[in-house]
């Protein structure tokens, strides 16, 4: 049996940014062929950790080793970059190049003369084990998310990457595709060429595939669980604060008897929308969600239609901070961006603003006086967006993948916001590819497959969703 080597190792790594300790005494290692999970509890240091895995920096304490050689330490940087690939919701393929060029022409020491026939045969042998076939002249835009991930995985292999970071796969791969891609990852890992760092918010998703799971809290690796130590009981203790917080969050709201405020209809379904209920639409094939999002955002003409009786809706896209927050405006201006539509002369009369500022100071603190929101944290920006919805008080709020990219404690905050909006009588539609914590507040769950309603569940039937291979908790 071939003895594995260590691909990356952190030893007591501490890293400060702007005088704040981001990574604090981080120690872990990943060996060849290993799939290591990473669950963040509060989100601190995750981005810095990923950035450090790719680009070596001068550390404040400790040492980092790549391929069992020192890459950087508190004494200096030995090597600037590491050969690390990232597979995430954003494509890392060059859109102007076809698959063959992405796979073979971009790698170091690629041949000057392109032999298309050879490339085609190599592409065939690369993807045949995964049950996929490409001609090589397809462009990245034409690929489905699963195909794109498979191509990126193959690209990582051909370019000699030693570590692949898999980021929140369940937020952009539908359940069936996720399972197929996990099989591919397992296969590559078994061959022992590469190692994987699988970042996800849900331990059950990670337990099903990983050899080891790291739990990150306060910028340190608090727990390193080997496969024999995986248990829900352990994670329940880890997330005790999280679970405790959930008990204070109001659960399901409607029992199907609420007043109907409108309908959401498509070519082959029509769903009634009830006041104060949370409807979760889970897309099994990732075809319907983008069209529904277009309908709600008004970005494109779509075959889906929303009709509300006497009211408006608001839309929050996935990862909304960069899309709905105006960085050059003050917190209060961002908060009251739509207030002018509701209250005539809102911006001319300063007493309105002063009154609102006083009211929100008690809710969000002095952050309400911030003049430039670009300095706010992700958590504060999410607070701003949901308080804005609260203030606008629409009839319906549509949110796409609300929990994507959020650590456990940030998810608690978001659930609290959603729960408060529901209590206020605002209906919520969650468009999701993975359930994440949506079921905590859901009144109804609808599975969509190919634009058709496959199944509808009420809260007492939520456990049955697991039969569809979906992680429910």
């Amino acid at each position: 049996m071939r003895i594995r080597r260590e691909v990356v190792a952190f030893r007591h790594v501490t890293l400060n940014e702007n005088g704040e300790t981001i990574l604090n005494e981080v120690s872990f290692s990943i060996a060849e062929g290993e799939i290591v999970g990473l669950v963040p509890l509060d989100g601190q240091g995750v981005e810095t950790l990923f950035s450090l895995l790719s680009h070596n920096r001068l550390l404040d304490r400790g040492r980092m080793y790549v391929d069992e050689e020192e890459a950087c330490s508190y004494l200096g940087v030995q090597k600037l970059q590491n050969n690390v690939a990232v597979i995430e919701s954003r494509s890392h393929l060059v859109p102007a190049l076809d698959i063959a060029d992405n796979l073979f022409s971009l790698k170091r020491n690629s041949p000057y003369v392109v032999n298309r026939k050879l490339e085609r045969s190599q592409i065939y042998s690369l993807f045949f084990p995964y049950g996929m076939s490409f001609r090589g002249d397809e462009h990245p835009d034409s690929l489905s998310p699963l195909q794109r991930c498979a191509v990126e995985l193959a690209k990582a292999e051909t370019s000699g990457c030693r570590l692949v970071i898999l980021r929140e796969l369940s937020t952009f791969l539908p359940p069936h595709d996720l399972s197929l891609f996990q099989d591919m990852v397992r296969k590559v890992a078994r061959e022992g060429r590469m190692a994987f760092l699988y970042y996800g918010n849900h331990h059950r998703e990670l337990f099903s595939i990983c050899d080891k799971v790291l739990v990150m809290r306060d910028g340190t690796i608090a727990l390193s669980l080997s496969a024999s130590e995986f248990s829900d009981a352990t994670m329940d203790v880890v997330s005790r604060d999280f679970l405790h917080s959930l008990t204070s969050i109001r659960g399901t709201v409607s029992d199907g008897e609420g007043k109907v405020i409108g309908t959401l209809s498509g070519p082959s379904f029509s769903l009634p929308l009830r006041r104060g209920e949370c409807l979760v639409l889970l897309d099994m094939e990732r075809e319907t969600i983008p069209c529904l999002a277009d309908t709600f955002s008004g970005a494109k003409e779509s075959t889906y239609h929303v009709s509300l009786s006497g009211g408006s809706w608001e839309f929050i896209p996935s990862n909304p901070c960069g899309k709905l927050v105006f960085p050059s405006l003050s917190y209060l201006d961002n908060l009251t961006i739509r207030a002018g539509d509701k209250v005539k002369g809102f911006y001319r009369r300063h007493r309105y603003e002063e009154s609102l500022a006083a009211e929100f100071r008690s809710k969000v603190g002095n952050v309400v006086d911030v003049k430039n929101v670009s300095s706010l944290t992700q958590e504060q920006l999410y607070d701003l967006l949901y308080w804005r919805v609260d203030l606008d008080n629409p009839l319906l709020l549509c949110v796409v993948q609300p929990f994507a990219g959020l650590a456990m404690y940030q998810r608690i905050r978001l659930l609290t916001h959603l729960s408060r909006l529901l209590a206020k009588g605002i209906s919520i539609i969650i468009l999701a590819l993975s359930l994440s914590d949506s079921l905590r507040i859901a009144s109804r769950l609808v599975l969509l497959d190919g634009g058709v309603v496959k199944h509808e569940f009420i809260p007492s039937q939520f456990e049955q969703v697991a039969d569809y291979g979906i992680v429910t908790k």
Binding site: A9, H12, E25, E70, T220, L223, S226
Partner: protein
């Protein structure tokens, strides 16, 4: 060493003199040839000066950082890395500090400290073995098999602890010593504490050679700070994993665990080479730091201990050792 350290200093000095020489040449050109050539020589001169200043500034910043790291307890390593020690006298000072605190002296100090910590008392070993043997005989005569067994285990434990602490031992022997230590603790705690060694008898890592008394202090710490405080007791698990170059031994307990702040503080103390203070003998105390120091002195800074812990779940200690340090594999 001094020659290597002053290389950058020499480059900077060379550039400084070169630029001064160019300045003289420029002045000569200005007088002899004309303004145009003077201009370009002046630019070249200014460029050299800037590079020289940049190099000096960069190195002096690095020097300050390394001295700062040393002052904060990172040991002598940062001082060894300094390339611009400002003057010959300061360079000599650093070398004297290294000479006065050589690695082998530190190693010897740590070894002695380990022995002291393990025993706490300077007892004559033969007197101790004879006494324990006498207790065992008396216990067997009186039909007290438990007492006999206990004294036998205790004698074996002391014999291992006292004899030849400077050499390397096989992992198998270390594990046996841990079992002996655990048997003694079992008399005190009964079924509240359990030991589970998950390294199969045919695993080649058992013949790996490592410094003596590495595992026992960690197991002791796990019992005292992890399991003793837990009403139900718990289990200590020892497992191992190896790659081509690294052997990792994991000692896991399902005891009370600790909070993030405490965890960070323990991990930080492990790499703090400033003199130990009184009262640091609590969780991750002197014995644990001693184990870490000995491993790092013997094998290098990339090896040693790392703690992982969550309150309510337990604590895991990873001991990293080099595979090529063990001739048994």
């Amino acid at each position: 060493m001094v020659e290597h350290r002053v290389t950058l200093f020499r480059i900077g000095a060379f550039l400084l003199f070169f630029s001064i020489a160019l300045l003289f040449a420029a002045a000569f050109c200005f007088l002899a040839v004309g303004e145009y050539l003077f201009f370009w020589i002046f630019i070249l001169c200014a460029g050299c000066l800037m590079v020289a200043c940049g190099l000096f500034l960069q190195e002096s910043r690095r020097t300050n950082r390394f001295i700062d790291l040393y002052n904060k307890g990172s040991g002598l390593e940062p001082l060894k890395t300094i390339k611009l020690p400002v003057s010959k006298e300061i360079s000599a000072l650093f070398e004297n500090m290294e000479r006065d605190n050589p690695s082998d002296k530190l190693w010897e100090d740590n070894r002695r400290q380990a022995q002291y910590l393990a025993l706490q008392n300077q007892i004559n070993p033969h007197f101790l073995y004879n006494t324990l043997e006498a207790i065992r005989s008396e216990a067997l005569i009186g039909g007290l098999t438990n007492v006999a067994q206990m004294s036998e285990t205790l004698a074996r434990f002391f014999r291992y602890t006292i004899s030849n602490t400077s050499g390397l031992v096989m992992l198998e022997n270390e594990l046996r010593n841990v079992e002996d230590y655990f048997s003694i603790q079992k008399f005190r705690f009964g079924d509240r504490v359990n030991l589970d060694i998950q390294i199969p008898a045919d695993n080649p890592v058992l013949s790996y050679h490592l410094p003596k008394l590495i595992l026992q202090p960690i197991v002791e710490n796990a019992i005292i700070h992890g399991l003793e405080e837990k009403v139900k007791g718990g289990t200590i698990t020892i497992s191992a994993r190896y790659t081509a170059k690294i052997l990792s031994i994991f000692i896991t307990d399902d005891g009370v665990g600790m909070d993030s702040d405490e965890l960070v503080a323990i991990n930080r103390r492990l790499n703090d080479h400033s003199p130990r203070k009184e009262g640091e003998g609590k969780k991750g105390g002197i014995a644990i730091q001693n184990v870490n120091d000995r491993l790092q002195l013997l094998f290098g800074p990339q090896y040693g201990l790392a703690y992982y812990s969550v309150r309510g779940i337990g604590t895991k200690v990873e001991i990293r050792l080099p595979m090529d340090g063990g001739p048994g594999i």
